[in-house]
């Protein structure tokens, strides 16, 4: 009894408001929905054979992500935040493949590490999961053929069946609707531009529309738009800037996929756009996004919040 209450008190001291957030404000933070939905997609994808799920890989990714997050929090004397690390882990598990758990762990460490190491104006520059994916893809492709790093990680853009695609699409929309999150504009703008370009290309070539439709029914693309591109922390804060940002990513993705034949071009496109994002924020200033929990803390502790979401 005594040790237990001791532990409880200890945790309460350390993570008190974190736990109370989880307990009392569960529906308010869109990240809970995201975690639930991504976990569901992972389970469904594994069960339906769209991809293989290795428990060791899952453990490695979560372990590395949470450890890196913890380390970053300690070194930066900031609060330890597990939700974003979980979302990053799930995104990596859904979108990146590697044989060795250590490689996936490396991707997770790079992803989370980038949040703490690559910052500009007190904001991280790259989308964490995207940074992890792009870093690993570059290492895989640049490594000498036959060497141990050559081809260590890869994406599987074609491996989502239509059912999974539909599930991801509905889930993505669902997350936004249920959480009333503000930033549906980014994924929708991305989709609109990407689809318009694919269809325009087909019309110009005289191809049947079945071709762009086949390309758009891609689970990886949906996941990318709704669960990666939509990240409020790494999209511009202004609504108009965000739409331009998403449109730019769509154009770049189209060019990479259809003209440079890079099947996972959207990841590189987001990476490049994130590098330019500080410019967007500089040109179109808007209040910075804060997760609902951060807003409340700001309210309850520090008086009036210094930052509100854009809308």
């Amino acid at each position: 009894m005594a040790p237990l209450s001791h532990i409880r008190r200890h945790f309460s001291d350390r993570f008190g408001d974190h736990l109370s957030d989880i307990c009392y404000r569960l529906p308010a933070d869109p990240r809970f929905f995201q975690i639930a939905v991504l976990s569901g997609l992972l389970a469904y994808g594994g069960a339906s054979g769209a991809f293989e799920i290795d428990p060791y890989v899952i453990a490695a990714v979560f372990g590395a992500a949470i450890a890196t997050q913890f380390l970053g929090a300690v070194l930066n004397a900031t609060r330890f935040e597990v939700r974003s690390a979980a979302i990053t882990s799930l995104s990596l598990l859904l979108l990146l493949r590697a044989d060795a758990p250590i490689i996936m762990a490396g991707a997770a460490a790079i992803a989370i590490g980038s949040k703490f190491l690559i910052r500009l104006y007190d904001k991280h520059v790259f989308n964490p999961a995207n940074a992890g994916i792009v870093a690993l893809l570059i290492i895989s492709n640049v490594a000498e053929p036959g060497s141990s790093l050559s081809g260590v990680a890869w994406t599987t853009p074609g491996q989502w069946g239509t059912a999974l695609w539909l599930a991801a699409l509905l889930a993505g929309l669902g997350v936004f609707v249920t959480s009333r999150a503000a930033r549906l504009d980014a994924p929708l703008a991305f989709f609109a531009v990407f689809a318009a370009l694919a269809i325009a290309r087909a019309l110009w070539l005289g191809d049947p529309l079945a071709i762009p439709v086949n390309r758009l029914q891609n689970g990886a693309l949906v996941l990318f738009a709704f669960f990666m591109l939509s990240d409020p922390k790494t999209t511009p804060d202004g609504s108009r800037a965000r739409i331009v940002f998403a449109g730019l990513i769509a154009v770049l993705s189209h060019w990479l996929i259809f003209h440079q034949f890079v099947s996972d071009g959207m990841f590189y496109a987001l990476f490049a756009a994130c590098a330019l994002r500080p410019i967007f924020d500089a040109v179109a200033t808007a209040p910075r996004y804060a997760w609902p929990q951060q807003r409340r803390r700001a309210l309850s502790r520090d008086g009036p919040p210094t930052a509100y979401p854009a809308e």
């Binding site: 053929p145 990680a153 074609g158 005289g206 079945a210 086949n214």
Partner: protein
């Protein structure tokens, strides 16, 4: 622009004119990459195509098997290619290479014999293999006019080859049509799409004299080597004339040879074929039918929209082997340039000495039509080096004398096991489970629970096998 092409053009026209007598009567036939241009009543339908793709970075070598069966003068092929090829980039290979690769990667049936339930373990593992349904043919021939430029022409082996570029599809179609070819209706828009994407057209027909010199009764596979960021296999032309014939399904086998790992499609799902199942003994006599039925059933299960992985393995070995791995020389002939033995070392690419073969082979099998596969197949190489094979297992019950207590249990367990095998087979192939049971009965796999040995049989050690 005006002069050189004009001269070349005239030359082509003359060459074509001399062949016209033959060609005018000709149909033609296209395989996966091309299209049949057969006469309306010619039922030379391409059943299955086999293509070997070596890919490393942008370097690509395509080897197209040629199972064309019709009159040689009718043979003609049109293949979209990303670049104009020089003569040295085109080659003619031996059928044996593809046959060997086919055999090495073929789905396999293995058999095990149950050990004597009363004795120490015996072990037997035999392999039978079967080249999956294969076949194929190819295609057509040409000449020159409206906006069509003959970029180059060569005779390689038994083939007369031209590389064409065109300004618009109408001109290309007319150019082909005036040479006596019947172009399917659907082809023009597909050709137009390729033209706008800057694609060139590799056109080949048989040079009858050169063919006679080979002394062979068949056409050998054509090979092309080029560099391109596009890792695709053009299948759209081959489907252009397929629409009016049933569901127009065509079979294609792709054998990819890579350095890093397994190859998969990026614009369609790649699905592993069910493997490792125990199946009834009679499947041994009809493995071909079994395989075809299973493939059809699995294709249906995926709504016809999947590419199936049939084999993925390091070329250095196999287990069990349906055929020996290919030799380095064979692999080099199929385009694996990084293996020792010649030419292409150095420059921009460093070659690791590497263990064993340093070649990974992927066998993909797809049954497609224009509806389920509207777009060309696009591939990517993954880093996945895990081994996969289509493997089906026969388990022969022990048939010798055995009368210990364990033997009763063993025999009693057999009907359940047979039933499982029947269900498995029915699931895999969509065959009727009752028909399967009947066939199993005929093969001695009976579903009746045997009567246990009377207790007194073993009393005085005069046991007999009553279950023979």
């Amino acid at each position: 622009m005006p002069h050189a092409p004009t001269r070349r053009r005239r030359k082509i026209a003359l060459a074509a004119a001399s062949a016209l007598a033959i060609l005018s009567a000709a149909g033609g036939a296209a395989a996966f990459c091309g299209f049949y241009v057969a006469k309306a009543d010619t039922k030379l339908f391409n059943k299955a195509s086999k293509v070997v793709l070596m890919r490393d970075g942008d370097r690509t070598v395509i080897t197209m098997a040629n199972d064309y069966q019709g009159p040689l003068e009718d043979f003609a092929i049109v293949v979209p290619v990303p670049v104009v090829l020089e003569e040295g980039q085109i080659n003619v290979a031996d059928n044996a290479l593809i046959d060997h690769l086919d055999a090495y990667t073929a789905p396999r049936l293995v058999e095990y014999f149950d050990e004597d339930p009363c004795a120490a373990r015996r072990f037997d593992d035999r392999v039978m293999s079967m080249a999956a349904p294969a076949a194929e043919a190819e295609v057509l021939r040409k000449k020159n006019s409206l906006g069509v430029t003959v970029e180059a022409e060569y005779t390689v082996g038994e083939y007369d080859i031209q590389i064409l570029s065109a300004e618009e599809s109408g001109g290309l179609v007319e150019w082909l049509t005036t040479n006596g070819y019947k172009i399917p209706d659907g082809a023009e828009s597909v050709l137009g799409s390729y033209i706008k994407q800057g694609t060139k057209f590799f056109v080949a027909k048989v040079n009858l004299d050169a063919q006679a010199d080979t002394g062979l009764a068949y056409l050998r596979p054509l090979q092309m080597a080029f560099e391109s960021p596009k890792f695709i296999l053009p299948i759209r032309l081959g489907m252009a004339n397929a629409d009016d014939e049933g569901d127009g399904r065509q079979e294609l086998f792709v054998f990819a040879l890579t350095r890093t790992g397994r190859v998969e499609t990026t614009n369609y799902r790649t699905v592993k074929l069910p493997t490792g199942s125990d199946v009834p003994l009679f499947v041994k006599d009809e493995f071909g039918d079994f395989y075809k039925s299973m493939f059809d059933a699995q294709t249906k299960k995926e709504n016809g929209k999947a590419v199936f992985l049939e084999y993925a393995w390091d070329m250095a070995w196999c287990d069990p082997c349906a055929a020996d791995p290919l030799s380095q020389e064979e692999l080099r002939k199929l385009g694996v340039y990084w293996l020792p033995g010649g030419g292409d070392r150095g420059a921009d690419r460093r070659i690791m000495p590497g263990p064993a073969q340093d070649v990974f082979v992927t066998r993909l099998h797809v049954s497609y039509n224009a509806e389920t596969f509207p777009e060309d197949l696009m591939f990517k190489e993954t880093g996945d080096r895990s081994n996969f094979q289509g493997r089906y297992v026969l388990r022969h019950p022990y048939e010798g004398e055995a009368s210990c207590a364990a033997a009763d249990d063993y025999r009693a367990s057999l009907p359940k096991r047979f039933e499982r095998e029947a269900q498995t087979l029915a699931n895999l192939t969509d065959w009727d489970v009752n028909a399967i049971r009947d066939k199993m009965n005929d093969k001695g796999q009976t579903f009746e629970t045997p009567k246990p040995t009377p207790w007194w049989r073993r009393l005085w050690d005069n046991d007999q096998d009553e279950n023979g």
